[in-house]
């Protein structure tokens, strides 16, 4: 094999690696979106910010704070069991191992004396430029999420006052007196 052929092969191999890395992000997300159960979570959006990826909204869910669960440390993997309550899904358990039924996988960001703060990897929602304030000012924001059988979650849509988010909602959205505070979730079982 000539030096040029080796170079060409090496170059192609790097291209394949790069495409593989991009697919490593894409494929699991697509799999979760395609096969995951569609649930709705209650959220309170905070702090729209600008990054070079565009504007995004930080989302905090009612299941982001779990009271009454002990035995976890920051950085621990946590499996949070979910149950439907009305049109919203809420946390009913938190454990180190996979529970029966539908559950979502998270990472403990902070363990305090009486409970946990958990991140699920669905805390950012990217919006068209200059439209983050619509979500921040909305009265009620929910997130439709796909959760697959391994507990991985991907955001499917943001529901603003019951409607899927669209940037042209600005005119229809009134400024409310203040966003709802996420209620801490009390466990049914541990």
């Amino acid at each position: 094999m000539t030096g040029k052929t080796v170079l060409r092969l090496a170059f192609v191999a790097v291209l394949v690696l790069q495409i593989g890395l991009l697919l490593a992000i894409i494929v699991p997300k697509e799999r979760t979106l395609a096969t995951g159960e569609k649930i709705v979570l209650q959220t309170v959006p905070v702090d729209p910010r600008d990054l070079f990826r565009g504007d995004y909204v930080n989302l905090r869910y009612t299941i982001s704070t779990l009271e009454g669960y002990l035995g976890f440390a920051a950085g621990d993997r946590v499996y949070v069991g979910l149950a439907q309550q009305g049109d919203i899904w809420d946390a009913v358990s938190a454990s180190h191992s996979r529970p029966d039924g539908l559950y979502i996988k998270g990472r403990v960001s902070r363990a305090w004396r009486t409970g946990l703060d958990v991140e699920y990897g669905i805390e950012s929602y990217f919006v068209p430029e200059g439209t983050g304030h619509i979500i921040e000012r909305a009265r009620d924001v929910k997130v439709r999420v796909a959760v697959d059988s391994l507990g991985n979650a991907v955001i499917k849509a943001l529901l603003v006052d019951g409607q899927p988010f669209r940037p042209d909602m600005a005119a229809k959205t009134e400024v409310p007196s203040g966003p709802p505070t996420p209620a801490a979730t009390t466990p049914a079982t541990n």
Partner: protein, 426 residues
């Protein structure tokens, strides 16, 4: 062809050079016309070359082809940059009007990255435009990073997820070695450093105060710096990697000096005695352990491959081991008093600066001298602001600071010239 005739007339009037500039049309047709004269044996090859040379035109067909190719490649670069920036902004703007299907968006991002690489490859290796091709491949590596983040946006991946930087690093580092590009290697080192810092920050953000998180993150850069620095002799040792060794020691020195400079700020340590120090997260401890092992392995390998001409390497290795040890110790916050850290890290930075300068003078490496002088200037200015604020009236403060900067600049220029003269003489 009017321009051509009038041009000829003027030339026949005995002028040495045309009084008006020839038009582009004339210059565009002249090579073909001269070639025709040559084939008709009206002029010889020497005259043909002389005629073309007179108008600054390439004298040989292959060269003319290359020149045209160069114009094409400049256009390609401009086009690639404009298209790349356009695509990034289009997707970043995330506008509703362009609510294109997710699959198409992803294909557009990936296709653009592959297109840039292919254009760069062809220009660098198939056509004789290595610099231009290299620039486009480098642009491709930057675009690949943007692609990772943009795909993250498409799937609402956590905004500060450090894995995105890891993907970027893993994707581009092999290309630095395949294309032997120091620029891509430098980019990879920057991305790796940013990714590790972001990873550490995510482990600490909820359990540590900002200052304590900084104290436990910054030593990472000291260790990374040591690792980069001692990877250089390994690259120098192998013929195929030799072109890549330049950025490593400089990146290493910058990382170490930036780390020590930051750790020398009093603000990080002022409130330590008021707070409980939380345990180190296990994941962060593991990261430090791996980095320490890699740094020690790099030092040992550097000593081994350079065993026949060690020079100052053993002293550099000893200094690096002390630095790694102290960086590791800092994670456990051994002192409660801010002064202990301030004195320790400023003294260490001064030692590293003068040590680097000495190595630069001894080995004739100008880069080392320039970096050490630059950091000396930054250190003086940083410490003046860090320690001097509040001790003077505002006006006095700014006048004093201005005078200090001017004096530092004068002294640095003076010593820089003297040192470089010594290097040149040596």
């Amino acid at each position: 062809m009017e321009t051509y005739r009038s041009f000829q007339l003027r030339d026949m009037n005995g002028e040495n050079r045309p009084q008006t500039e020839p038009t582009d049309e004339f210059l565009g047709q002249l090579p073909a016309e001269v070639e025709r004269w040559r084939q008709e044996r009206l002029i010889g090859a020497r005259h043909a070359a002389a005629l073309l040379k007179r108008y600054g035109l390439p004298t040989d067909a292959r060269e003319r082809g290359w020149r045209l190719g160069r114009t094409v490649s400049i256009l390609a670069i401009l086009g690639a940059i404009l298209v790349g920036i356009g695509i990034i902004l289009l997707i970043a703007a995330n506008r509703q009007e362009f609510d294109i299907a997710r699959g198409f968006k992803v294909a557009l991002i990936m296709g653009s990255a592959v297109f840039l690489y292919l254009v760069g490859y062809v220009l660098k290796y198939e056509l004789p435009f290595p610099r231009v091709g290299g620039a486009i491949i480098f642009l491709g590596t930057v675009f690949f990073g943007a692609a990772v983040f943009l795909i993250g946006q498409v799937y609402n991946v956590q905004a500060n997820d450090p894995r995105l930087l890891l993907y970027w690093f893993v994707g581009v580092i092999p290309l630095a070695y395949v294309t032997r590009s120091a620029a891509i290697l430098t980019l990879s080192l920057l991305v790796a450093s940013a990714g590790l810092g972001m990873r550490a920050a995510t482990w600490l953000e909820h359990t540590h105060s900002g200052e304590l998180a900084a104290i436990r993150t910054i030593p990472l850069y000291v260790m990374l710096g040591v690792l980069f620095y001692f990877l250089a002799p390994l690259h120098e040792r192998f013929e195929r990697l030799r072109g890549l060794h330049h950025p490593l020691p400089l990146a290493g020195l910058v990382a170490v000096m930036v780390g020590l400079l930051l750790l020398g700020f009093r603000a990080f340590f002022d409130d330590l005695h008021h707070q409980d120090i939380p345990d180190m997260p296990t994941s962060l401890l593991r990261m430090y352990a791996v980095l320490t092992a890699l740094a020690v392995a790099a030092i040992a390998s550097a000593l081994y491959v350079s065993r026949r001409a060690l020079g100052t390497l053993p002293q550099e290795a000893a200094a690096a081991i002390v630095l790694v040890g102290l960086a590791f110790a800092t994670l456990y916050v051994p002192f409660k008093e801010a002064n202990a850290y301030v004195v320790l890290y400023n003294a260490l930075l001064l030692a590293v600066i003068f040590g680097t300068m000495a190595i630069g003078v001894a080995s004739g490496r100008e880069g080392y001298i320039n970096i050490s002088l630059a950091f000396f200037a930054v250190l003086v200015i940083a410490r003046y602001f860090d320690w001097g604020w509040g001790l003077y009236e505002r006006s006095l403060f700014f006048m004093g600071a201005g005078a200090l900067v001017l004096a530092t600049a004068f002294l640095l220029e003076f010593y820089r010239r003297r040192l470089l003269r010594r290097v040149g003489a040596g």
